[in-house]
Symmetry: C2
Subunit: 231 residues, 2 copies
């Protein structure tokens, strides 16, 4: 069985990616990050997701990304709640965490070297997204190129590392439809930037808005728990 | 004054790089990593180095690199001491930390975004080195390319990020000569993989061997403290 590393946050996208990789018969290895994110509840969700999908191993890396500051997701800056759905993605928002995907993929690369794995999956998407520059296909390609130059397992084996981003060109609606076809239970996924483990998702941050819009366009009710009335 | 981020370990190379960047009139911002390295004493050395060179800021990031395992520098594998100087660099040794420079540069990139800095300095060298693939000019170029695609400050300003690796093509001898010309006190630098803050450097790991050979070729006595007799 071929190994795959999944960057797993327990959100809608990375859970769908787990289902896609599992469906492609990969043996799954998860990597999640404790980065002083305000929505730390997602780590518990990620653990449950890894269990549900039968991950062979799940690493939770204590990374000091929050020490860098500069983002509403880690520093003491409020998560904006007033964005209109049509404005999302037009400019890079304050929720952007500097170099987050670069750092996360770098750890995944280190992990791949220790378990001899050449397939790394990440749930980035540049259609219905917040406009983060580290979510684009150009970025993924440039990272993959750099990875193949820097990794000792490539030097030793001649095999190439592939960064898979199967959601890259899907709308949120298509991601949800793909996941449902593969049996994903979206009640168990957390997308919210301001998630409360007891009360549920906020329903008003841009991440919630993108998600809810995806379900609306798919004509499906979002089964997740929200702390405001959605339907 | 232009800002520069220096990847600072407190070793011979990164200290020389600090002197080079200071000499080029940059305002210095340091970033060091607590990565469960067995030679943790280097962090205290890095702090002193930052002070000596008048760094504006010095971040020590608690990173979970050691959680990935797989290296003699972090896991419970002995640091080899029996390598001959002429064999160093021929193959990737067990002291290679998977994706270490990728991860460190990624944090530096995040840091650069939060302080609006476009110049990142790293003391990699691919002449007198251990053969780590993440020390080569090809790697630095590929990382720089990826950084300029992923960083929001590039999107926002149109400026480019430059990864400076001024030691890239120098021999250890030339690095030492450059540093001495710039007033570096090498007594205050720690290179050893098995450093003991009280007793000094081991003198027998490959990192010590490369250093001692550099001083020998430069015809200078290494002023650092060793726990074995060197001269």
């Amino acid at each position: 069985m071929k190994k795959a590393i999944i960057l797993l946050s327990g959100g809608l996208d990375s859970t769908t990616v787990s289902a896609i990789a599992k469906n492609q018969n990969y043996e799954l290895y998860g990597i999640s990050f404790d980065y002083d994110q305000r929505h730390k509840g997602e780590l518990e969700v990620a653990k449950k997701t890894a269990k549900r999908f039968g991950f062979k191993e799940h690493k939770i890396i204590k990374s000091g990304v929050g020490q860098l500051g500069g983002s509403a997701l880690t520093a003491d800056i409020a998560v904006p709640k007033d964005k209109k759905i049509e404005d999302i993605g037009k400019e890079i928002p304050i929720t952007y965490v500097p170099a987050r995907n670069v750092i996360f993929l770098s750890y995944a690369l280190g992990y791949s070297e220790t378990i001899n794995c050449f397939d790394i999956f990440i749930g980035v998407n540049s259609v219905d997204f917040s406009g983060y520059p580290d979510c684009t296909p150009e970025f993924i390609k440039a990272f993959e190129n750099m990875a193949n130059i820097s990794a000792s397992i490539v030097k030793k084996t001649g095999n190439k590392i592939k960064i898979h981003s199967p959601l890259e060109n899907m709308t949120k609606k298509e991601i949800i439809q793909t996941g449902i076809k593969l049996g994903v239970d979206y009640a168990e996924t957390v997308t919210c930037y301001d998630y409360d483990p007891n009360l549920g998702a906020c329903g008003t941050c841009e991440s919630c808005k993108l998600r809810l819009n995806g379900f609306k366009e798919a004509g499906i009710k979002d089964p997740a728990k929200y702390r405001i009335e959605i339907y």
